[in-house]
Amino acid sequence: MWSRKSAMLGSLAVAMYLLGLTLRNTQLVTIAVVIFVFLTWAALLGNHADVASSGRRADEWSGEEGIALGNVVAMRKLSSARMFEDGELNVTLRMQNTSSLPKILEVRDRVPEVMRIKEGANYILMELGPRRETFIEYTVECPLRGFYSLGPVAVRIQDAFGLFHKEKELHVYNDFLVFPKMEDLKETFVKSRVPKIFTGAVNIRQPGPGSEFYSLREYFEGDSFRAINWSAYARSGKLMVNERERDAVSDVIIIVDSRAVAETGPVSRNALVYSTRAAASLAKYFLGRRDSVGVIVYGDEVVSVDRDTGKKQLYVILTKLAGAVARGNIPLQVVVNRILPHINKGSPIIFLSNLEDDPTIVNALRDFRARDFDVTVLSPSSLEFEFDAKRIDRTGYEVMKTERDVLIGELRGLGVNIMDWEPDMLLSTALAGARGF
């Protein structure tokens, strides 16, 4: 391929040549001849720059550089195929020259745009000897969740003066997954009021055989003497017994709004980023408490993870959250209608959404409340993200903030535990705020 420099020199040479003939100027013609010689020689050398790939998808390639097929090979190894946001990934790129001639290569391993190179470089200029291989190591930081792919490896060879070059993409890809990062939660203040039929170690908000104190009540016949609270008896003169919270496994449903509007704001600070991180943190917390956790992610389709327990369930949930893409505009009502028949009455429901651009939100949450579900809404405010990024002016911000406050007030009136989650607020603080603590 001609570079712009060679194209310029070529044009200059042609112009000088013709002008030299017109003006009968030997000097101009001579300069043109010298430029032609430079270009010809570089083109002759440049054509040696044959590379080919032997990567995973090499079959797709059919280039013109037939004679040197397979003489530059790239392979890649990742330190891990799964990590959390802000995690680091060590990449080892192995470049081989199977040819018997040395090559000077420019290698660029394509890294997803959101990644940052923390150590080393993914752009290397190297001299690779005949039948030699070399290892290139670099570390990337992965600040955002998602499914990513490293590759292809772009290889370029050019002549010493940068006049002609040949480029080839070695189709070597490595996929990896970045899970949303999680916040350690000590308490979520979310407890089920409805027991499940099998026992566990989770408190639900009903008195019964358990380990944690729930309330005091008067003594009735048949109550165990061990349950009598003698201090309370001394104070009130009546026999009082301690009631304990009933241990049981509860269902927790987390709904994540991943509609297109959820990504309003900067790439690293928007409602979807906050929601997925919150969902991951909550899932970890509840699963650690041996609850059953189900997750519903909706955007252009409703993706659900059935309620289950254990570490495997956390992995499934994290994978779904990592893949959540802001797309579509399914109303919440559709989601509610679909899941209502399948969830236990009274289960805690945690809804993570910026509450924007969906007129069905109030009705949908009313449906939940009418069936006595314990609904908690954490609403990362897209307005704040937009305003922080200076994308909306103050007047617009104030108007929209007022509308948002009205909506939040209306939802609170339905008995929904709701919190306007400001960008700088920790998840645990937002949860405590939502639950009125």
Partner: protein
């Protein structure tokens, strides 16, 4: 309209702390942001794209034009440019006498034309020095253009010299070829200063990692020697068409060969053009026969 603000008071969460209705940065921003709906400039990420001139001069490896102080390699290239520049300025003046320049045609005064020609050459040299010293591609490009401007002459086919010295036609041809090679080397070296400054800066800012830099630089150094030699030889061959062609034709017909030797056209610039045509038709045929590929295959086999 009265809006009942819902009770979202969570101030008890911040007991003992400074309670703010919003983050300080947001408050500050709210006071600063105007009422316009245009996207502020600082909200748009900066993308550094090489400019036209940067890419014209070879295209940067990494589009970063704020160079760190030059390393030894760049310094050596700069010194080489200074050397070539002095020689080039001198040769340009010698082989482009004021007669036949557009200044002479416009003014009709040899003195003025001489001053103008000297000014252009001096300006080209000074710009070249400054461009190389400051590593500014625009100044170097300006210098290149001025050198080309200096050589534009409505001259007769015969090459003449500014200095009143009597040298033979062979020496004159050598002078012209050396001049042409020096000019191209100046183009390349001044471009090399920019390219290697970019590379050096990129290496030092960890954007590019270079393995075996000595070998890579060595290849460039070798090219700086071999290419001018090759260009000189080939250009010399082309410029000697007026002697080679009659000699070749003389094998078949002595008379025709003699007529060709005496031909005014063949000894003029058209002879050079004819030689160029022959050489580059040959080169074109070789490329058409895919010589580079065969050469590559041969080299691979030899290395095996």
């Amino acid at each position: 309209m009265t809006i009942n603000k819902p009770s979202a008071d969570t101030s008890h969460l911040y007991d003992g702390k400074t309670v703010r209705s919003s983050a300080p940065s947001r408050k500050k921003a709210a006071g600063q942001v105007g009422t316009g709906s245009a996207i502020p400039e600082d909200a748009i990420p900066t993308v550094e794209i090489p400019g036209f001139i940067e890419s014209l001069l070879g295209g940067p490896l990494v589009p970063k034009m704020k160079f760190l102080p030059p390393d030894k390699m760049v310094q050596n290239l700069q010194i080489a440019v200074y050397g070539v520049l002095v020689g080039l300025a001198f040769l340009t003046y010698i082989i482009s006498p004021p007669q036949g320049t557009m200044w002479y045609i416009l003014t009709g005064s040899l003195g003025l034309a001489n001053i103008m020609q000297l000014t252009i050459i001096a300006a080209a040299t000074v710009l070249g020095f400054m461009g190389t010293f400051r590593r500014d591609a625009r100044l170097s490009l300006g210098s290149n253009l001025l050198f080309i401007l200096a050589i534009l002459r409505f001259a007769s086919s015969k090459t003449s010299l500014a200095l009143d010295v009597d040298i033979g036609p062979t020496m004159l041809s050598v002078l012209v070829v050396v001049y042409a090679v020096l000019l191209i080397m100046y183009f390349e070296l001044s471009n090399g200063v920019i390219r290697y400054s970019m590379l050096d800066t990129s290496i030092r800012t960890n954007e590019v990692y270079v393995m075996n830099p000595k070998k890579i630089v060595g290849k460039y150094h070798r090219s700086l020697v071999t290419n001018p030699i090759l260009a000189t030889l080939l250009a010399w061959f082309v410029l000697s068409a007026n002697t080679i062609l009659p000699a070749f034709v003389s094998i078949f017909s002595e008379d025709t060969g003699q007529r060709m030797r005496e031909s005014v056209e063949l000894t003029s610039v058209y002879g050079v053009a004819l030689g160029t045509l022959f050489v580059f038709i040959t080169v074109g045929i070789l490329f058409g026969l895919n010589l580079p590929t065969h050469l590559q295959r041969f080299r691979e086999r030899q290395a095996d």
